[in-house]
Symmetry: C2
Subunit: 388 residues, 2 copies
């Protein structure tokens, strides 16, 4: 039997569970006798091209378990897109290190790189492992990483709502990641549980920001209740597609420095409605929390890693491991292979049937879609409205 | 035996454990036969003046336990300072509701209100319960609420550092609460554990912000390592005492709208050093997290509530329950009574011996002071630098 080495690299931003997929790859690969070394590229495909590899073959079960439960990317990552000029170097490196199995864990840009590598390397099994907190990857019902970031977004909106309503002097705008897709900001709607009502308003990047309508919504809410939380996507744009958060500043090269969406909205509420307002922006913290990982998401990420190795070992190449939902209650999924060229470079936005007609809330259908991914019940809180 | 009612109110911003003190008050008061009803003012002293009271006398042990483990202020709070014009109304309300025991849970402003009530009401036992995440209250080694917010600040800096170093293209500025005191921003130094190095720089409100020195520090760090986290206090001021975060905007009444400190520093790094930078501002989220409560802090808050009732029942009045540290290892404290007029309106800054000579880090002495308050070990993370 010809033994070949395995290499795995991470692409794009880290997630709370990208290491869980890595743990799944390592644990599964250790079982396959035809896989020799288990190598990790340090710093994504750029690290691979530079030959920056670490041998993880003998990782202990304890370390694999700790890795599975660690957010961030333990082996680093990059935002580099492979282009034609890198092709010969890529094949050289793969050959030099006797690679037979190549795994790239990432989002839509990374799946493009993964697809290119699969076309270049005929004798190598190339499999993509899906990953993005933004959930904007095609070919899969949802993407590992999203469920945990959604749990963070929802629990954070809930806890912020509890804080704000205790001293209800502000409208508080909470900025949520997700780039151009509203999946994550929509997930804040799950905070409305245990009798709590925040967020009272959601702003999606799929709906052009309309200042007049927004201010009407805020004033109407303020007139009827205090302690309001607005969840706003970092990707909010106006009717022309420009960010609403222009800081007015430029960097040393003349490029615009973006401002914060939440702070922009907060300033608008202060200056136009004369209502006190503040903004919070957890930003990257929202994709790095160990304690708010969704157990469902972690296990799916781990499985996706394991299944990638199984499929590559059985000779499959040029696919991404996708997730197909079989049922919502009980929540059941199966993993399936999706051709890489069908997912590369495609950005899956939040569809219309998940946003209400008014454009400021999700639909019940979205709640049903999202809830199981966040891993079941949130922590319990005392709510005096439920008392007696 | 003359039975009298008890009333408790919360003042100032909520903390993750202010409800734990409330739970301690309720649990203890239920044991005292001379205490009749246990009343909570809804919305702080303002709620009390408006006669907005809720009867919590019969709260079940299960609800008390849930309350003890719930961040935010379950009974609301306010920022209202009692002045002479409220005196007669205050005594009227206390008399009307047959109050014999008055508890105010808050920071230095609230202790001022508590002191005034103690002078007004001769036949009422008035006790202050300390509370502030800022830790700027005098008369006590530390203040309930601080340990949990410190745990949040440290774990968040740790997790943010893990995320940032995986894709080390930015300097990331993390904004930390604490108003004019550097206790909380200093606590981020506890993140340097398990082989992790963030935050690499700390900016204290006790040290006037010096742009040149700051930029030198950042450039020097960037030249030697990537993936840098800077922890910056929300209260940073320049040599004249003015906030460094002026948004340049005014509200409808001509008052300045403050900008964000972290975003201001981030913009500075981009425009002056041409290094990519971003900022995160968890803000109120940092005082509202259930999962990052310090168990030590929660128990101390609970004890402070219980002891307040014991002291009031034994006839003490005009005091705050303070905490005196007996030893660090093992960590031991005792509770003691501090005269209210000695703590009212005083703001305890981070002392010089807790800040290093360069003004950009804490001292080991601060780490020893702070660590036990955060409740012991943080979650475990896999760090590839420790692997092999």
């Amino acid at each position: 039997m010809v033994k070949k080495n395995l290499v795995i690299a991470h692409g794009g931003g880290p997630t709370p569970v990208i290491n869980a997929s890595l743990a799944g790859v390592i644990m599964e690969a250790q079982k396959h006798t035809k896989i020799d070394k288990i190598l990790a590229a340090r710093g994504g495909i750029e690290g691979l091209l530079a030959g920056n590899l670490t041998d993880l073959s003998d990782m202990s079960p304890e370390d694999i378990d700790l890795l599975k439960n660690t957010p961030g990317s333990a082996i680093g990552t990059c935002r580099y897109k492979v282009t034609e000029k890198d092709y010969s170097r890529t094949t050289d490196v793969l050959q030099k290190h006797n690679i037979g199995y190549f795994f790239y864990n990432g989002g839509n840009d990374s799946m493009d790189t993964c697809h290119k590598v699969s076309l270049l390397a005929n004798d190598i099994a190339v499999i993509g492992i899906p990953k993005t907190i933004d959930n904007d990857l095609g070919g899969t019902d949802h993407c590992p990483g999203f469920g945990s970031a959604a749990r963070y977004a929802a629990v954070t909106a809930l806890e912020l709502g509890m804080d704000i309503r205790a001293l209800p002097i502000h409208v508080c705008v909470l900025e949520i990641m997700g780039r151009n897709a509203g999946w994550l900001v929509g997930a804040t709607a799950l905070a409305r549980t245990q009798g709590f009502k925040a967020p009272q308003l959601i702003c999606f990047p799929e709906r052009p920001f309309d200042e007049g309508k927004f201010l009407n919504d805020v004033q109407r809410l303020w007139d009827s209740q205090k302690g309001i939380v607005i969840a706003a996507s970092e990707g909010l744009v106006d009717h022309k597609g420009n960010t609403i958060a222009d800081s007015g500043l430029t960097d040393g090269f003349g490029h615009k420095i973006p401002g914060g969406v939440a702070q922009t909205l907060s300033n608008l509420i202060i200056s136009k409605l004369h209502i006190k307002s503040r903004s919070e922006k957890p930003g990257l913290i929202g994709r790095a929390s160990k304690l708010l990982v969704s157990p469902v998401d972690r296990e799916e990420a781990f499985e996706a890693g394991k299944i990638s190795v199984q499929q590559a070992a059985s000779g499959k190449t040029g696919f991404m491991v996708g997730i197909k939902r079989l049922s919502n209650d009980p929540y059941r999924v199966k993993f399936e292979l999706v051709e890489l060229d069908k997912v590369a470079n495609y950005e899956k936005k939040l569809p219309d049937h998940f946003i209400n007609a008014d454009g400021n809330n999700v639909t019940d259908e979205f709640i049903e879609y999202c809830r199981p991914l966040t891993g079941g019940d949130f922590p319990d809180y005392f709510n005096i409205d439920n008392y007696e």
